[in-house]
Structure formats: structure tokens, C-alpha cells
Amino acid sequence: MKSKYLIYIPLLLLLLNSCKKQLDLAPTDSIDATKAFQNVSDLQKGLYAVYAENNNGNRIYIASILADETKISNENRGQGQFTFKWQYSGAEGEHNAAFAQYYNMIDQLHRILAVIDDIPAKDDKETLQKQRIKSELITLRGIAYYELLIEFMPPGYDPAALAVPIVLKSDLLAQPARNTVGEVVTQIESDLAVGRGEALIPSGPSDDVVRLNQSAIAAYQARLALLKGDWSGAIDFASQSIDLSGKTLAQGGDFLDYWFDNNEIETIWKYRGNAEPQIYWTDVNGDVFFEPSDKLKNQFDRDNDIRFAAYFTINPFVQDTALITKYPGSSIGPQVNDLKLVRLAELYLIRAEASAEAGDLSKAAADINLLRSKRITGYVNVSFASKEQAVEEIINERFKELCYEGFRFFDLKRRKLPVTRFASDVQSTTWQTLPAGDNKFALPIPQHEMFANKNMVQNPGY
């Protein structure tokens, strides 16, 4: 008779079976990876996510504290001090955060490139959109590799030296080895060339200042040529970028307004992610972590050079202390500013430097004189007596014009110059000078990467 109760067993099994289906739950708050890209509009969203990764804020910050643009304030509680004092190691920090950031950007664009050809376009317009997105993504990969290259390669330019691994597809378990500087440069050149050859990418920042244009791409070509010492290439690309941009150098009130993001006079390409660059150097509560260095302040003709007023605010009560106010806030928020990815003034400086190096001192002087005449009231044109003098003055002009825009440290690095700070900018001589070509110019590969990637080798000295 007991066997009759076996009837309950199928009932239990039935319950079990129906419950198996009940376990098939899907997340409501995130998108299953297989469903992320299904149409051209999704691709567009993916593209903007890649642009969102291309935030040069970290470079702006570290280039300012690694070099001679800043000094540690009394109110600093430790922020950025290891970096400022060149005491960093492979441990994660602001000094090597770019590694994860730009590989993340590269992985994201690879994920889109992997599926883009299979995504159907509804009409001709979408076909063109797809085409442009694909070219932009490839170009952005070159730009990401440029950022990685300048941070992690050794100082100077040695094509045989180790740079960063070239990764060309998304792979969670990849353990790539480092490629050489020459190989990475070739990759960047080829990626940028895709963008330059894409007719769908507009010539200048006419329609969308946060999206790539030919002028911006040419600017990266010019930077890379300058890095390689390809002076004629740098001159050509800089000229192309200037011509394609349709922009002119700002002066007077326009220049002051420019930093409040009230106009786009010199902008060729920018990052607009509600960034708060001011808080790199200043706490949200107003505590100052880093002040402008005395060395930098001393470069300026305080009365006539409008850049002094645009870049600094002097504290009238405490003798010669100042705040970095190149990012004074905008109409979007008191600390919110766009970050300039490519600005016109830099291209004149690139062309001037390349012209000087190529021996054309008058062309170099013409670019420098044009820039200075826009910035300095009552400026009198100069001419250069020698290549050395010209280069020195141009590098110094870059120091002044492009301070707090992420260049200074990398200019010194590429030219194999030392970082030399004023004694008044440091509390100890231990961190007054970083000798030319020092190992610390090549930033350390993050500890995490060393740990997770058995094919990775660290830069010397860490």
C-alpha cells in the first residue's frame, strides 16, 4: 500500500522542473553583453563612451606636479606628494593611472570594432554613420596609444626601447608583452592615417567640438612627428592642423573668457565630461594642495602678459602665494571646465620648435611672435640668433603658454631635459632636481599589471 504514496514523487519532480525555469533570471539594471550593440544607434552610444574615456585630466595633473609647474602647499595632507617628490613605485597612483585608463578605452573600442561590420544599417545614412564611427574608433585607438607611449616609454626617442603592448582585439585573458617604441609609433601612425583618410570626418570642429575632426587628428600627427624628431613632418602636420581648424588665436577679453568656456576660439578638440580640474590642486573645501611654482610665476611679465591674469590668482594677504586658476569654473558649475585636448596655440609652438630644429629660425620666430603678440600688450617682435636660443625660448614659451595642460613634464622628457625646481618651490633639495634622462621619467608599469601579466616587464629602476 505504501507504494501508492509514490505519487508524490512525480509531483515533487514536476515542481523541481518548473523551478529550473524560475532560476532563469536576467538583470534589469544592466545590459547583457550579447545585447549591447544591435543597431547603429547603439554603436553611436558605444562611440561616445570611448570618447568619455579619453579624459586627459590625469595627464594635466601629473605633468604639473612631476615637473616644475607647482609647489606643495602648507595645506597639503599628502595629496600627490610621492609623485611630486619622484618617490613613486609600481604601486598604483596618479602617476601610472593612465595605463588602466587608456587600455580600458582601447578595449572598449575593440569591442565595438568586433561587431560593427555585422550590425545592419537601415538606410544609406546609417551606412555612412557606421563608416564614420569605425574610422573614428580606429583613430581613437591611435590616440590612446599615443597617451600610453609618452607616459611609459623611456625619455628621449629610441625606437628600439620598450613602450607598451599593442593589443588589437578584446581579450579578457590576454597577457601581452611590451612592443618597442618604433612598433607603437607605427601603429599610431597607421591608426591616425585611417582618420585622415576618412572623408566623413569633418575638417574642423565645426559641428561637434567633442568629436574628432581632421584638424585634431593632424595635431596628433604633428605631436608624434615632433616626438620622433621628424621636423618636416611636424611642420607639415602642424600647418595642416592650423589650416583645417579654421581657428584663430585669441586675445584680450576673449582669451580670459576662453578659460571660462564662454567661447571656443582656440578649441580644436575638447573633453567635456563635467570634469572638475580645479580639484586636482585644490580640495573641495578650499584647502590648497599645490600652488603655482615661483619658477613659473617668475616667467611672466605680470603687468603686460594677459596669461598671468588668466592662469593665476594672487593672494593679496600672504606674500606671493597664488592659486592655479586656469580652470576657474564655467556656467555649468563653479568647478566644472572642459579639458582642452587640442588647442590652436600648441600647433604654432610645435611648428616653431620644428622650424627651429630644421634651421628655419625666421619661420620659428614668426610663429612665436604671432603667439606672443596676442598675449602680451606692447609686444615687440624678436628674432632668434641661434637654433639653441630659439629652441630654448620656444620650450620656455610652451612652459608659459601650455602650463597646467599636461605638457611640461613630457616636453622635458622628450627633449631629455632635467626637471629643475626653484629652491623656494621645494622644502628639501632631495626633490629639487630630476636629472636629465632619469629612470623616473619613464613612469612605472602598475604593480597590478606586473602581477597579472607574466609577460610584462617593468621599466628600469622600479
Binding site: M1, K4, Y5, I7, L12, L15, L16, C19, K20, Q22, L23, L25, A26, P27, T28, D29, S30, I31, D32, A33, A36, Q44, K45, G46, Y48, A49, Y51, A52, N74, R77, G78, S89, A91, F99, A100, Y103, N104, I106, D107, Q108, R111, S170, D171, L172, L173, A174, P176, V210, V284, D287, G329, S331, G333, P334, H448, E449, F451, A452, N453, M456
Partner: protein, 1019 residues
């Protein structure tokens, strides 16, 4: 139709069996001859059973062969009585005093402990009820061997309690036990709306056999709460009330007073020129010599007047709070039905300004049982309303418990006109204004749980049943920054002033956040229970269970608050492009489902040997489809040694002796560190420059599978000297295989890590519980009891790596979890004042480097934990004292970093008096470096936090029955005074050595509470 005939047939069979039987009648009562209803009466050697009626009577038809009946009831010793001793007389059951006779509540059923191979401990209501602590998990501290309970906060209603059973079993995942109330799984941590005074008992299940029914979620142990149920008879109304105060304890360090702080400022000023008054006005400042005489006199005057101000910020921010609680219970029953109704009110003021908890709870438990059916309904609802301080535990000036110590003693709280002295750098007044005037933060929680359990006996041997239970919580957190207060005016836009309008003031903000937890569980079960030939006792049950969890929440912050409509959404100004007061909104929802099918069985031979075994198949939606279902099993045996012939002469001094051995596996479905869908590669939505974006958010790993926890347990239960000394000893080895940890992957993948099953953690240890009745005479009794547990936690393997960092800890093979990781402090160089550190190779250096961190400073998981108590009673008086301890663990003392750090002096904060010993000139031997060097987190900040705490004391008087009988109103009356958290012995230099994590920040300290109370039952 066929089914129906089947049922009829079996009913017929049933009556047929009865027809051959005889009927036994009797009555069951407790030691005081009060009738006990609901006592299970079963025939020994046959399947017949029943339960007693409200008046304690029963009648049971048993086969003619039966000679003995067994009586079992929760809280009483099970008795086996021969029929001739029963016949129409009263069977008295003795309440449980020895451990071995107890029953264990495993959730769906109760098991006699003598027939149970699992490791389990019971905490009875006398240790849980009427303790002046809101959250019951904190009440369990020290009561159960191997149960680690550390409260993270003394704030009423705070939920930051860490509970661990037998050490941390998971490296990255959850290590909290599963909580069950009347069969319903409870959401971890949210206990402030549960009333512990409604609890009858709490069982703590510690090994795989004990947790078999909850195997998919039970790997970290299970805590089973049984609420009070009705007792038969005329309804009894009882009231319990307490009134008292809560007080701040005393911290074990001294902050600088005004003259000392000014001195410290001057000492630092000699190295670093600064504008702090102690240096700026100092005669030793080179500036002073250049001043004209009148300004010199002014400087002297300023210093003198500052020295004379000594604001006691502790007095400003802390207070004595009120405490009271009231409980009204009605319990009774008639016929086959019993009920328990309870209502409770609990109110506790925090020792910090503004913080409090008010709790309203209701409970209704109803039981019906007859020979065929039993039905139990359990339901509870609680509303907990709390006001909180801001930034609790945070290093933030909004946290009053940080402000107390950071505030300057030479600043006054009030201006001469009576307004609060707010302003830049006025840490104390600003924080005071913020908590009393500038902001609000409150939390309103509703928690409801209910269950219905049905059991139907198809035959004497076979039963089927179902269970449905749900746990629901809704929490609404509300906070405000009031408009045009100092707090609002110094906030960022949009809470603060509009930067584009220099005349604007802070318009404030208002936010509401709602979180919602909903879980239900459905069980169907069928069982078979029979005793064959009087010696073979078999009990087997098949269960199928489905659990569904849903979490959701949303929050918004609105701006531009109308000053006449504060603390309500009605006061929010709708945002637009012009006023830019755009509200922030956010939210989430997610779900999870578990399925389990299991068979759990017990077989006892002749009362001597018991085999417990379980097999289960578990599935969860939290894992990829291919790995979703896994099998787990557990088995254990118990040997009652005294039932052996050779032990028959031992009775003289051993009263019971049982050996338990068990081994089994369980899983950790609540402990997936990656949440409900972490295995799945996913994308999220965002925005850039005004355009929508899609980007990868989770790497996922579709190969990940269950963590497996394997527990081996060897236990002994014993009682000696006429049960005067009894206890239990357990040895265990708990190994977690396939730990889900984050495997670090190359950044070139776009992610930093993926979850993988790698790594083995082992917890092994010893648990001892002892109780002794030292004096047991008619008028006086004195007993002592206690428990101690030692747990050794060790990472055995991490597969591809040997170590990785997790926060400030190092997870490393061979070390326990929670191992601190820091650079070893080498003292201060007496000649230069430079701090010295040890490199990894043990060399002294003055250069700090993260690379020199080592993990040789212990762990924050205490290896030794326990508690002990003693109680003395004489006539109606009784005195109980209870102590808890944790030994051998270390915590990061972050307060040291702030309070012994020149940088915080320079930023205008107060520091500890010890800063006077800062290095100042060559030859100074001190542990506090020159201010020219940056203060780092180092090993000297990792400090021993071992403690012994006088946790609770109660002095009570029970009025004698003869006196109460005269009153004709009361049947029982007790008055008592109680103290909670009376004293702590520790070397820890902070507020409270007890905390739920590895780092001491500015926690809300645990208060000391004194209450007086009464418990009365009405006639």
C-alpha cells in the same frame, strides 16, 4: 478520483489500526503543576501520537503492545513513562537544565539533542529578553561558543554588526550566518525592527549536519529564532517595562587642553611657520621681536585669553539619553488552539545629539493541532524610526564624534550674542550647528514577516505538508540641509549659494531614499517516521524549496527648499535650465531565486546510535546556467555512551555522555561577493557631453561555480555529578574550497579582475561550553557558566598566486584573513627627528615606501572569543553577571593617525596631549617625529584591541507566590535593576575596542545603560 479513493482507503486502514488498540488518558504539567498544552505524546515502539489539550490532558490510542509513552516539549526534558504510571494521573515534565536533554530547533522541526549529530547551541529567552539593546544579534555576543559578534556602532538603530560563526570561511564573499525566524529566512543585518522580547529561544547551528536544511545558504552557520507561542489555559496577560538612562563611556586618551594645544602649535611653528595663534602670537616667534610694545602686549593678551578658554566639546556633543521599553503579552488557548499576542514599544536616545530609536512591534502567533492536522501561523510586524547623526564612523567634520576631538578647546561654542560661533575653521561650532540646526537625517523602517506551516498526517507514519513564509522590509531614509543655515551657505551649489549670484544664500536640499527587500520561501515536504521493533527509529523527510528575493530602491535629492516647507518633498523647487536646481534621481532593482530539493533522514538504533544524513541538490540564479545545480551532502553519527552495558555502572558520577561526529558540505548562496548577476558580462548606460553612452560594466565569468564549505566536527556532550557540571566540547575543521576570489587580469583587457573559483581557506578550532551548579540548596543557588572558543583561520591556497591585497589587508597563503598590511615602524631618529621605517629586508630607512609593507601585525579577526556568567539566587533575590571577551586581535587605530599628526595641527584641529612629546631638538627620544616629515600609516597604528567587558548585570527580586495570591491581581511579579556595558578592560587606546571592522575611525561609541524594570503577570 483515483486519488480520492486512495485517501479513503488509507483512512480506512487508519481506523482499522485504531480498532486493535487501547486508549491511554492522562495529564501533563510542569514542575509547578501548571498544565502544559501542545506537548507531543507518542507511543514508544509505535507510531501513535497526539498533543495535549489546553488543560494538559490527552487521550491516545495505542497498540496493545505499547508499554511506554514519550512526552516531549520545547524547553522541557523529554520523559519516557510507563503506562501504569500514567493511567489518569499527571505527568510532570522538568524544565531543561542540562544540555543533553534539550531539543534543537533546526528550522522545520525539533530534534532531541541526544539523537542529533550536529553542533548546535541554544540561547534561551532569559538571556535574550529585556536586555536594553535594540538589535538582537548584539545580545547574542558571548552566549554561544564560536559565535563572534562585534557591534560596529553604539548608535540606536544602527545595523553595522558583524556576526561570524567559526571564523571567516570566504575570502571575498559574505561570511554572515543565515538568520531564520519561525522558518522564514531573514534579511541579514536589518534587525532593529524586530523585538527580541518576543523571542522564546535562539539556536545557533554550526556544522554541516546542523545546517543541512539550509545547506545552500548555511555555510556560515545558521541562527534560528523561535518566537513565543501560546500556552494553553486561561489567557494570561503580562506586562514588562523598563526605564533607564544611557551614558557615554570614558575614552582612554586625553586631548590637549587650550594651553597644551597652543604649546603644540608653537612647537610646530618653530619648524613650519604658520598662522596658528600658539605660534603667531608667541614671544618665540621671530616676528614678535619686531613688534612695537603695544602690539607685544596685545599678542600676550590674546594668548592669555585663549589659554583661559577651555570648551569641553565632549559635553557639547554627548549627552545622557533616556531609555524605556514596554511589552504587553497575551497568551492562552482553548481546545486545540493556542495563541500568543504581543505588542512592544522601545525607545532609546543615543548618547550623541539627535540620534534615537523608537520602535513599535506587534506579534501574533496562532497554533492549531489535532491528531491529523497541525497549523502554525507566525507573524510579526515592526516599525523602527531613527534619527541619526551624519557621517557616522566617517572621518568627516559632519560626524559629531569626529568633531568632538578635532574641535579647538580655545574656541567658544557661542558668540556673546548667543548665536553659535560658526565660521571658517570653527570645527566645533560648525559641527554643532550642523547637527542641531543645519541638517536632518532619519530613517523609517517597516519590517514584516509571516509564515504559515501546515502538516497533515496521512497515516501514523506518513505526513505531508507545506510552508510559506515571507520577509518584507521597507526603509525610507530622509535627509535635509535646511535653507539659509551655515551648513547650506557653505555647501556647493545647488545646495549652497548660486556662484553666479553673489547675493544668493544656500537654498538647501531634501532627499529621500527608499530601499525595499522582499523575499518569500515556499516549501513542500513529505515525511515518513516509524519505530520498528522498538529499537529502530527512522525519520526521513523529502523537501522541495523555492526562494525568491527582490531588492529595489530609489532616491532623489531636490534643491531650492522653501524655508516654510522643510523636511518634505513639497518644499523642493522644480528645477529648470534657468534656476539649474535639477533634482538628482537614481534607483535600482534586482532579483534572485534559489531552488533546493533535499532528503534529510535520521535513524536511531536503540537510543544508542543515531545516524543523521542529508542529500540535497541546489540551484541558484546567481550562477551561469551550466554550473547552477550542484549536489551537497552531510552525514553524522551520535553515540550515547551511557546506553552501553559497559557504562551502566558509570551512573554514579556521569549522568550523560554522548559523542558526535559529522562531516558534510554546504554552500554560500548569500555570499557571492559579486551580487546577484556578477557572473554575467554586462554593459551599462551613461552619458558623455550630453550624449547617451553604452560601456562595459562587468567582465563576468561564465565558468564560476559554488563555493563549497566542508565541515568536519567531533563533539562531546557530558554531564557529571548529578548534572551539577555539564557542557560540551567541539572540535572542528572547516575548509572552504573553490573560494570565489577576484583574479587579477591584465589591464589590457579593459578590466582589472574577474571572479574565479580559486583558493582554499581553513578554519579549525575548539569550542568549550561549561555550566556548573556550585550550590543547589532549597534557599540558595549559585551557578557559573561560560564558553570559550579558539579559531585558527588560514588561507591554504590561492591557486595561481600566493598573495593579493584586499583593501588595507593582505590575503596571503599561510596567513589568516584580515591580516594587516603596513610598513613596520622603526621609531624616530633622535638626531634628526626623521621617522624611521623597516624595509622588507629588515633594514632601517628614513624613506617611506609602500613596497616595504609587510603583513606581520596580526589580524582583526579575534582567534579567542567567549563569555561567562554567574548567577546567585537566594529566596526571591537573584543576581546575574555576564562578561564577554575577545582576545588576540589587532585593529588599525586611525584616530592615532589624526590625533598624533602635526599636519592636523597645521590644518587647525586639536590633537592629543601626547603631541607635546613631539621631537624638537637633536637628542629628543620620542615616538613622534619632527613636523618636517610627513606622517604615514605605519605599524605603530596597528594596536591590540583585546578586551574583557562587563557586559550585563541584573539584580532582581521575585515576589513570593503566597504574597501574590493575597493580592488576587498578579500571578507573578519581578522587579529588577540592570546595567549594560558596565566596564571594559583593554589596552586599546581609543573609544571602544569592539568594532565590526579592521579600522577605528570615529565610531559612535557604545553607551553604558542603566535601567530599572518590572515584569508582572495578571490573574
Amino acid at each position: 478520483m483515483r486519488k480520492l479513493s486512495l485517501l479513503l482507503f488509507c483512512c480506512f486502514q487508519f481506523f482499522y489500526v485504531i480498532a486493535q488498540s487501547k486508549t491511554v488518558r492522562g495529564r501533563v504539567a510542569d514542575e509547578k503543576n501548571n498544565p502544559l498544552s501542545g506537548v507531543t505524546v507518542s507511543a514508544v515502539g509505535a507510531a501513535s501520537k497526539t498533543v495535549t489539550n489546553v488543560d494538559g490532558t490527552f487521550s491516545l490510542a495505542v497498540p496493545a503492545t505499547v508499554t511506554q509513552l514519550e512526552f516531549s516539549y520545547i524547553g522541557f526534558q523529554t520523559a519516557t513513562v510507563s503506562l501504569q504510571n500514567i493511567a489518569n494521573s499527571t505527568v510532570m515534565l522538568a524544565s531543561t537544565t542540562t544540555s543533553i536533554g534539550e531539543v534543537v530547533v533546526t528550522g522545520y522541526t525539533t530534534v532531541k539533542k541526544s539523537q542529533y549529530a550536529g553542533a548546535a547551541s541554544k540561547v534561551t529567552k532569559d538571556k535574550i529578553n529585556y536586555i536594553p539593546v535594540a538589535s538582537f544579534d548584539q545580545i547574542l555576543q558571548g552566549r554561544v561558543p564560536g559565535l563572534l559578534v562585534t557591534a560596529g556602532s553604539g548608535q540606536p538603530g544602527d545595523i553595522n554588526t558583524r556576526v561570524q560563526i567559526r571564523g571567516a570561511g570566504s575570502i571575498s564573499g559574505g561570511t554572515s550566518p543565515l538568520y531564520i525566524i519561525d522558518g522564514i529566512p531573514l534579511e541579514d543585518g536589518n534587525f532593529r525592527s524586530l523585538n527580541p522580547n518576543d523571542f522564546e529561544s535562539v539556536d545557533v547551528l554550526r556544522d554541516a549536519v546542523a545546517t543541512a536544511q539550509y545547506g545552500n545558504r548555511g555555510s556560515s552557520g545558521v541562527i534560528v529564532i523561535t518566537t513565543k507561542r501560546g500556552r494553553a489555559g486561561k489567557p494570561v496577560l503580562s506586562y514588562s517595562g523598563q526605564y533607564g538612562i544611557t551614558q557615554p563611556g570614558k575614552e582612554k586618551f586625553d586631548m590637549a587642553n587650550s594651553p597644551e594645544l597652543l604649546q603644540i602649535q608653537e612647537n610646530i611653528g618653530k619648524f613650519i611657520n604658520n598662522g596658528l595663534p600658539g605660534w603667531f602670537y608667541s614671544p618665540n616667534n621671530p616676528r614678535y621681536a619686531t613688534l612695537p610694545p603695544d602690539q607685544k602686549a596685545f599678542a600676550d593678551h590674546v594668548l592669555d585669553s585663549l589659554r583661559s578658554i577651555n570648551t569641553d566639546w565632549k559635553d557639547v556633543f554627548m549627552r545622557d539619553g533616556n531609555f524605556h521599553s514596554h511589552d504587553l503579552n497575551l497568551s492562552g488557548g482553548a481546545g486545540n488552539t493556542r495563541f500568543f499576542l504581543g505588542a512592544g514599544y522601545y525607545q532609546q536616545d543615543g548618547i550623541g545629539l539627535r540620534s534615537d530609536l523608537k520602535r513599535y512591534t506587534f506579534r501574533a502567533n496562532i497554533d492549531y493541532s489535532d491528531e491529523k492536522f497541525s497549523i502554525s501561523l507566525s507573524s510579526g510586524i515592526g516599525v523602527g524610526k531613527s534619527n541619526f547623526i551624519e557621517s557616522e564612523n566617517g572621518i568627516a567634520l559632519a560626524n559629531p564624534f569626529a568633531a568632538v576631538y578635532l574641535a579647538l578647546p580655545y574656541q567658544k561654542l557661542y558668540n556673546s550674542d548667543g548665536t553659535v560661533n560658526v565660521g571658517g575653521g570653527h570645527t566645533g561650532p560648525n559641527a554643532y550647528d550642523r547637527v542641531t540646526n543645519g541638517t536632518s537625517l532619519n530613517s523609517n523602517q517597516v519590517k514584516a514577516n509571516g509564515s504559515l506551516n501546515l502538516n497533515y498526517n496521512i497515516t501514523n507514519d506518513i505526513y505531508v505538508g507545506g510552508f510559506a513564509g515571507l520577509d518584507y522590509r521597507q526603509t525610507i531614509n530622509e535627509s535635509s540641509v535646511y535653507p539659509n543655515t551655515y551648513t547650506a551657505n557653505t555647501s556647493d551649489f545647488p545646495t549652497g549659494p548660486d556662484p553666479n549670484d553673489p547675493n544668493s544664500v544656500g537654498q538647501g536640499s531634501y532627499s529621500t531614499g527608499l530601499t525595499n527587500h522582499f523575499e518569500y520561501v515556499l516549501r513542500a515536504f513529505a515525511g515518513y517516521r516509524k519505530i520498528f521493533k522498538e529499537k529502530h527509529d527512522l525519520d526521513i523527510r523529502a523537501i522541495s524549496e523555492y526562494t525568491y528575493t527582490h531588492e529595489r530602491g530609489f532616491n532623489y535629492v531636490g534643491y531650492g527648499i522653501d524655508p516654510k516647507l522643510t523636511n518634505t518633498p513639497a518644499g523642493i523647487t522644480p528645477g529648470d535650465v534657468t534656476n539649474r536646481l535639477i533634482a538628482d534621481v537614481g534607483g535600482y532593482k534586482t532579483e534572485r531565486a534559489l531552488y533546493a530539493a533535499m532528503v534529510i533522514g535520521k535513524y536511531t538504533y536503540d537510543g544508542k546510535y543515531t545516524l543523521n544524513a542529508s542529500f540535497r541538490r541546489d540551484g541558484t540564479s546567481q550562477l551561469p546556467e551550466d554550473n547552477r545545480f550542484q549536489n551537497f551532502y552531510a552525514a553524522g553519527i551520535t553515540w550515547n555512551v551511557l546506553k552501553e552495558n559497559f557504562a551502566s555502572s558509570w551512573n554514579n558520577f556521569i549522568n550523560s555522555l554522548a559523542v558526535r561526529f559529522s562531516y558534510g558540505e554546504s554552500a554560500n548562496a548569500d555570499g557571492f561577493y559579486f551580487g546577484f548577476f556578477g557572473y554575467l558580462p554586462t554593459y551599462g548606460a551613461g552619458t558623455y557631453a550630453g550624449f547617451p553612452t553604452t560601456f562595459p560594466t562587468n567582465a563576468g565569468n561564465t565558468d564560476v561555480t559554488w563555493e563549497r564549505i566542508k565541515t568536519l566536527n567531533l563533539g562531546f556532550d557530558f554531564a557529571f555529578f548529578k548534572n551539577r557540571l555539564n557542557g560540551s566540547l567541539d572540535l572542528y575543521n572547516k575548509k572552504t574550497d573553490d573560494n570565489i576570489i577576484t583574479q587579477q587580469i591584465s589591464y589590457t583587457s579593459g578590466f582589472a579582475s574577474i571572479p574565479v573559483n580559486a583558493g582554499v581557506v581553513r578554519n579549525k578550532g575548539v569550542e568549550l561550553a561549561l555550566n556548573g551548579n556550585i550550590i543547589q540548596s532549597k534557599s540558595i543557588t549559585w551557578s557559573v557558566g561560560g564558553n570559550v572558543a579558539y579559531n585558527e583561520n588560514k588561507v591554504i591556497s590561492l591557486n595561481q598566486v600566493s598573495e593579493f591585497e584586499q583593501g588595507t589587508e593582505l590575503v596571503k597563503v599561510g596567513l589568516p584573513l584580515g591580516s594587516h598590511y603596513a610598513v613596520k615602524w622603526g621609531g624616530v631618529d633622535a638626531s634628526t627627528g626623521s621617522p624611521l621605517y623597516y624595509t622588507k629586508d629588515g633594514k632601517l630607512t628614513s624613506v617611506y615606501s609602500d613596497d616595504d609593507r609587510v603583513a606581520e601585525f596580526g589580524t582583526y579577526n579575534a582567534p579567542w572569543i567567549g563569555g561567562f556568567n554567574t548567577s546567585i539566587s537566594w529566596k526571591g533575590f537573584s543576581l546575574q553577571a555576564f562578561f564577554t571577551f575577545q582576545q588576540g586581535f589587532k585593529r588599525f587605530n586611525n584616530q592615532d593617525f589624526f590625533q598624533l599628526n602635526h599636519a592636523f595641527v597645521l590644518q587647525g584641529y586639536n590633537v592629543r596631549r601626547d603631541m607635546l612629546t613631539m621631537w624638537q631638538k637633536p637628542g629628543d627620544v620620542t615616538n613622534i617625529q619632527s613636523p618636517l616629515y610627513q606622517r604615514q600609516f605605519v605599524s605603530k597604528d596597528i594596536q591590540d584591541a583585546s578586551y574583557l567587558r562587563f557586559r550585563n548585570a541584573v539584580l532582581a527580586y521575585d515576589f513570593p507566590a503566597n504574597l501574590l495570591n493575597k493580592s488576587k491581581v498578579l500571578t507573578a511579579a519581578r522587579i529588577f535593576v540592570q546595567g549594560q556595558n558596565l566596564y571594559t578592560w583593554t589596552n586599546w587606546v581609543g573609544f571602544d575596542p569592539e568594532d565590526n571592522d579592521n579600522i577605528a575611525q570615529y565610531e559612535y561609541p557604545t553607551p553604558r545603560t542603566f535601567t530599572i524594570g518590572v515584569n508582572v503577570s495578571f490573574r
